[in-house]
């Protein structure tokens, strides 16, 4: 239905970020937390709007902005994710001497970029959304201006991110040359006429997929991930590990889904993605084994999780991919919330030794962190187990037995490094230097919400699964 309502979620978020930038100038330093409450208010409004327009299929600009259920579902979970990240960082920002206004406004702008990418059906607009997201992300990574690691993360993310964008532009030019359009549906139509498939089209599609592989961090395009995740402020790392990854998968699902029956039969694309998926699972988990920095461990774990989700894409089961992304959002934000909690003025505790005895000194945070790590490792009855189970079950149904065996072996390896953190928290004697100043209510609320999400999705996933089926069913093919 053509309606101006389609613009509402985007305008709410952009409006919020502008208001925050304006208020930033006028508010006194001790009142800066109000900016966080304002953004929470706008995010809630956006969530309610998305919930109300479920199933209404609003569209605008001749259908190049389309709020189908698939887009709305990701709008909602990303809005929740951003809300959790803002709540967890309320205290963190002042502890790190960063600037409240910049942080919230950039985060909301990045969210608006993701909205554009998710809801667009034209590749040019997807590229513009990607740049809105990326440029805000480069600035977010370097938000701790006095910290050299943070600036280093920022410059690395900037260089490799724009490198990937250049691939997208070049691939897009070739697709435009082959099919005379940048509309996704037009490109798909072009691919479904096998007689017209020239070198241009294949080359262009390859370039586009490479650039999204950079954004999602598949092996061998993952080299920026650990450094960027380690150096960025922790809530920002949580955002990077969830947001751009989910959006990258949304675009991959939108562009790859229709090719499955024409291009996947030719086996070239399929074989390449198969190898990438296997490499991503193996390398992500193996390199994580020898890390001692908790943020770096979670960075490699996020690479590995991208590999598991790619198994779902290869199995042509969109619902299981979407479910995996939903669970991943809650458990990963939860884990990063626990790391955010381990902070005092001007210092973050991120080495494994710092966590010795943390489980006894800070029982709530320690216990929640342990649950999230168990979920990431894939223990039942938590969400992480069901997510892996659905993805691998779909793959077995499609006959990808060897890939599933690789995946299960890789996730067995991953248990070691997840449990290593738990062992440090509960079985090593405390060195007595962990004096954190972060037991504020907002952070505990986030921990509780993520815990609820992980348990709900692990034990009673029924309601969400109904939503996800509805969302995936609205894909136009």
């Amino acid at each position: 239905m053509n309606s101006l309502y389609a613009l509402a979620p985007l305008s709410i978020i952009v409006l919020a970020s502008i208001i925050i930038l304006l208020l930033e100038v006028f508010l006194k330093k001790e009142n800066k937390n109000y900016l966080g409450y304002i953004s929470v208010f706008f995010l809630t409004a956006c969530f309610i709007f998305c919930f109300m327009s479920w199933g209404k299929d609003y569209s605008y600009f001749n259908g190049s902005l389309l709020l189908d259920n698939f887009a709305l579902f990701f709008f909602m979970i990303l809005t929740i994710g951003t809300l959790l990240i803002i709540l967890m960082s309320l205290n963190y920002i002042s502890l790190m001497d960063a600037n409240h206004g910049e942080f919230f406004a950039l985060l909301l702008l990045a969210l608006s970029g993701m909205f554009i990418m998710i809801s667009s059906t034209d590749f040019l607009v997807i590229f513009l959304g990607l740049e809105v997201l990326s440029i805000s992300s480069y600035a977010l990574a370097g938000l701790k201006k006095k910290d050299e690691q943070s600036s280093e993360a920022s410059v690395k993310y900037f260089l490799l991110g724009s490198f990937a964008s250049a691939f997208l532009v070049f691939g897009l030019a070739f697709l435009f040359g082959a099919f005379k359009t940048t509309d996704i549906l037009g490109i798909i139509d072009g691919f479904n006429k096998p007689t017209e498939l020239g070198l241009l089209a294949i080359f262009g599609l390859g370039m586009v997929i490479i650039s999204f592989a950079f954004k999602i961090a598949f092996v061998p395009f993952h080299m920026w991930t650990p450094d960027v995740y380690q150096g960025s402020p922790t809530p920002v790392t949580a955002f990077f590990s969830v947001g751009p990854k989910a959006v990258g998968f949304v675009v991959l699902i939108r562009i790859l889904y229709p090719y499955w029956h024409s291009l996947f039969d030719s086996n070239v694309l399929f074989t390449i993605l198969w190898i990438v998926s296997a490499l991503t699972m193996i390398f992500g988990n193996l390199i994580a084994l020898r890390q001692t920095n908790v943020k770096r461990i979670l960075a490699y774990s996020s690479i590995a999780h991208a590999g598991y989700i790619l198994v779902g894409i290869l199995a042509m089961d969109n619902a299981s991919c979407v479910f995996y992304l939903t669970v991943y959002l809650f458990m990963n934000i939860g884990a990063f919330t626990a790391i955010t909690a381990m902070t005092k003025k001007g210092k973050e505790y991120v080495e494994l030794e710092d966590y010795a005895g943390a489980g006894f000194n800070h029982p709530w945070i320690g216990a929640a962190f342990a649950v999230f790590l168990f979920s990431l490792a894939g223990f039942p009855p938590l969400g992480g187990f069901l997510a892996k189970f659905y993805v691998f079950a779909a793959a077995v149904k499609e006959g990808l037995i060897s890939l599933v065996v690789i995946g299960i072996l890789a996730s067995l390896v991953s248990v070691y490094y997840y449990l290593r953190i738990v062992v440090f928290m509960y079985m090593h004697r405390s060195a007595g230097k962990l004096d954190i100043q972060q037991e504020n209510p907002a952070l505990l609320i986030v921990l509780f919400l993520c815990l609820y999400g992980v348990l709900q999705l692990g034990i009673f996933p029924g309601n969400i699964l109904v939503f996800i089926r509805d969302a995936v069913g609205s894909l136009p093919f």
């Binding site: 513009l128 440029i135 201006k145 410059v155 250049a166 532009v169 359009t181 380690q230 020898r290």
Partner: protein, 100 residues
């Protein structure tokens, strides 16, 4: 009239040149410039295809890409300046606090 394929080959050459320069050069600004070369290779391909197909869209897209490149440059140069303030150097091998 110059055939379209010449432009495409030129833009592909520029793109490869950009990739090579990105990996060979050891200076953050030069690396950033090589990314700009890659983006402009894409622009050239867009214009060539727009001319070949007689479609105005290709030329409009180029304006969007130029705008994006400008925004990227604004943020990117600020970040490189921040690195320079902290380390007094913009050699990429000196930006190496994190490894593994």
């Amino acid at each position: 009239m110059i055939p379209t394929s010449y432009f495409i080959v030129l833009s592909a050459l520029l793109f490869v040149l950009g990739i090579v320069a990105f990996f060979v050069k050891k200076d953050l600004i030069t690396q950033f410039l090589s990314i700009e070369v890659m983006l402009n290779a894409g622009n050239l391909a867009f214009i060539a295809f727009a001319k070949a197909h007689g479609l105005i869209e290709g030329q409009i897209i180029v304006f969007f890409i130029i705008t994006v490149a400008a925004a990227e440059a604004a943020v990117g140069l600020a970040i490189i300046l921040l690195i320079y303030k902290q380390k007094k150097t913009i050699k990429s091998e000196d930006v190496n606090l994190m490894k593994g």
